[in-house]
């Protein structure tokens, strides 16, 4: 037994195996990190596309409301890099209207809630914020 352990080939072999395992783990991590970086960047892209789509719907709703106060929302718009959906516009008339817009790109959703204090003669918006879930619109 002692004869076997004292043979230098085993020490070298075990050392190589241990170093190999560590090296493999580091390489796997590098590979995963690289893949993750690519996925994250793609998610960032989709997220920004979804936000741009949500903002598009919000702008569209404001334009429609200014031309027709009875505009009800409940509309979807398709764009080159995403799509957006308007929920039912809240409120009636020229004051205190609520707009809820949801943009989508891939699996990513971004949502905007906008409070319109007055539409005409000059549109005033005290609140334009992104939300995780709609609370102003049903």
């Amino acid at each position: 037994m002692n004869n076997r352990l004292s043979r230098p080939g085993y020490i070298l072999l075990i050392s190589i195996l241990v170093i190999g395992v560590i090296a493999s783990a580091i390489l796997s991590s590098l590979l995963l990190l690289g893949t993750s970086a690519a996925q994250v960047s793609f998610s960032v892209q989709q997220s920004n596309q979804a936000l741009a789509a949500a903002q598009a719907c919000a702008e569209y709703a404001l334009l429609k409301l200014r031309t027709s106060p009875t505009y009800a929302g409940n509309e979807s718009l398709d764009m080159n890099n995403g799509r957006c959906e308007l929920l039912q516009i809240g409120g009636v008339g020229n004051t205190n209207r609520l707009i809820c817009a949801e943009g989508q790109s891939g699996d990513v959703l971004r949502r905007l809630e906008i409070v319109v204090k007055q539409l005409l003669p000059q549109t005033t918006i005290p609140s334009w914020q992104e939300v995780a879930a709609f609370s102003l619109c049903l």
Binding site: G20, A23, L27, S28, L30, L31, L32, L33, G34, T35, S36, A37, A38, Q39, V40, S41, F42, V44, Q45, N48, Q49, A52, A53, Q55, A56, C57, E59, Y60, L62, L63, R66, T67, S68, P69, T70, Y71, A72, G73, N74, L77, M79, N80, N81, G82, Q88, I89, G90, G91, V92, G93, N94, T95, N96, Q118, L119, L120, P121, Q122, T123, L138
Partner: protein, 484 residues
């Protein structure tokens, strides 16, 4: 002999094994090193490519924000085409067809989607070397909602169109949606219940869908998107909802939904908030007079709640979670209903106002911090009253109320988004009045203009898209424009 020979053979065999082992070991090690190298390069490239894309996305977002900043300064600065962007001392401006920064080529495409409506696509591309190339695009809309709208001088109002029906349509109320005006009518003398006019040119309205017949009298109406809501006297479906996506060809088949209220054909006023429909009826004990209904596009309408109002509800105006009603109750001509929870309708704290004398409330209008109530004619009262609802839904004067003697029944009210209000009714030689509500509040002479329609004006509607006023007598459609 054999022992020596065998030892020699064994040594030869071991020497070969060692060589083979060494070759295999070197091969395995080379493969291992190759894997290491490949993994290192692949991981590094993925990380770098991810970074490239992330930077490109933020640059694309920066471009969109730059265009938004330009829009905020002037919508007209958004010229169509493909542009580069440059930051100058005065802010972002278009510069050339593209711009390049740290290896990223950037531009924006601006395409018109309609009046005051642009589609903006922010493009960023890069090509550092073959594996490190790509592109990112973000698309959004920008509209000119910051534009300040102008209102004409309604103190110099003039009639620009008069369209008279040769029959007896008995027009009641009017509402406008898009390029069409919808007029309800009584069918007592042969009216068709609903008339539709194409007002693409407000100075020359044209009746469309002439063959349509509602088969009942209709009174209050409201347009919400592509739906027309009617309060009718049809005993089995007082509330009717029509699809008005093609008003010129409206037919009975366009009925989307209806509801049979308790009682027998008493619906008179209607208002809509989202998918909730509020209906007021004539006094019809033991039925209630105020209803909340749930509109559905796929199933029948359903009753959410109702409230006894002790009289007819002839007008409804919604604002900030409250329904302001013009009612006939002698002790409460102006009643306010809390509609935050339509399934549990209740009077707002304070209930409402008992106006002087007993004349019915007939029309109501809320706008910002004011509520205007019109009443039937009375010798001892002013028929138009304005309350401040700035502090509470049910007014607690002072300040106000501010009143105006109309000299006849007030049948309908409308207003611009500014200071003008329109009062329509039966007053001799002044069936339409233009009121300055600011002057009314200051106790100054508020009447800016009167118009003699020669007959009672039953309904008025202000179309803010075209800055036009529409009115109906029993047989005529009138269109008004402001002065210069």
């Amino acid at each position: 002999m054999c022992a020596f020979q065998c030892l020699t053979d064994h040594r030869r065999a071991r020497s070969g094994s060692l060589l083979l082992e060494a070759v295999i070991a070197i091969g395995v090690f080379a493969l291992f090193l190759g894997g290491i190298g490949f993994s290192l390069i692949l991981g590094e490239r993925s990380t770098v490519a991810g970074g490239d894309r992330t930077r490109a996305v933020f640059l694309a977002e920066q471009q969109l924000e730059a265009v938004r900043a330009m829009r905020a300064r002037s919508f007209s600065s958004l010229t169509l085409g493909t542009h580069g962007l440059a930051l100058t001392s005065t802010g972002w401006t278009f510069s050339g067809a593209s711009a390049e920064e740290n290896g990223y080529r950037r531009n924006v495409d601006i395409v018109s989607r309609g009046t005051d409506w642009m589609e903006v696509t922010s493009n960023v591309s890069w090509s550092f070397d073959l594996p490190r190339s790509g592109s990112v695009s973000l698309t959004t809309y920008l509209t000119n909602w910051r534009k300040v709208a102008t209102i004409g001088n309604w103190g110099a109002m003039s009639r620009i169109a008069l369209l008279t029906d040769s029959g007896t349509p008995e027009y009641q109320k009017i509402a406008v949606g898009g390029n069409f005006a919808y007029v309800t009518s009584s069918n007592a003398l042969g009216g068709k219940g609903l008339y539709i006019f194409d007002i693409t040119n407000p100075a020359a309205p044209v009746r469309v869908a002439g063959s349509f017949n509602l088969g009942a009298s209709a009174y209050g109406l409201t347009v919400s998107g592509e739906r027309l809501y009617l309060a009718t006297d049809n005993p089995s479906s007082e509330v009717q909802v029509y699809d008005i996506s093609s008003p010129s060809s409206l037919a009975t088949g366009n009925l989307v939904n209806s509801f049979d209220l308790p009682g027998n054909g008493k619906a008179r006023s209607i208002a809509v908030y989202g998918n909730t429909v509020f209906v007021g009826t004539l006094d019809d004990p033991p039925s209630n007079q105020f209803y909340a209904l749930q509109m559905s596009e796929t199933g029948p309408m359903s009753l959410l709640g109702s409230l006894a109002m002790s009289g007819s509800v002839l007008g409804i105006s919604l604002q900030d979670g409250y329904a302001y009603t013009a009612a006939s109750a002698n002790a409460g001509e102006f009643l306010v209903v809390d509609i935050f929870d339509p399934q549990h309708l209740a009077f707002a704290p304070g209930v409402g106002m008992d106006l002087p004398d007993v004349q019915d409330g007939t029309a109501i209008l809320t706008s910002g911090t004011a509520a205007l109530i019109g009443r039937m004619n009375g010798s001892t009262i002013d028929e138009l009253i304005m309350y401040s609802v700035a502090d509470a839904p049910v007014p607690t004067p002072p300040p106000g109320p501010w009143t105006l003697e109309v000299g006849g029944d007030v049948l309908s009210l409308a207003n611009t988004y500014g200071r003008y209000a329109f009062v329509a009714g039966t007053a001799d030689a002044a069936q339409i009045r233009v009121i300055d509500t600011v002057k009314l509040e200051r106790n100054e002479a508020p009447i800016l203009k009167t118009y003699d329609a020669g007959a009672a004006v039953n309904g008025v509607f202000y179309d803010w898209q075209h800055d036009r006023l529409y009115g109906v007598t029993s047989s005529s459609l009138l269109v008004f424009a402001p002065g210069p």
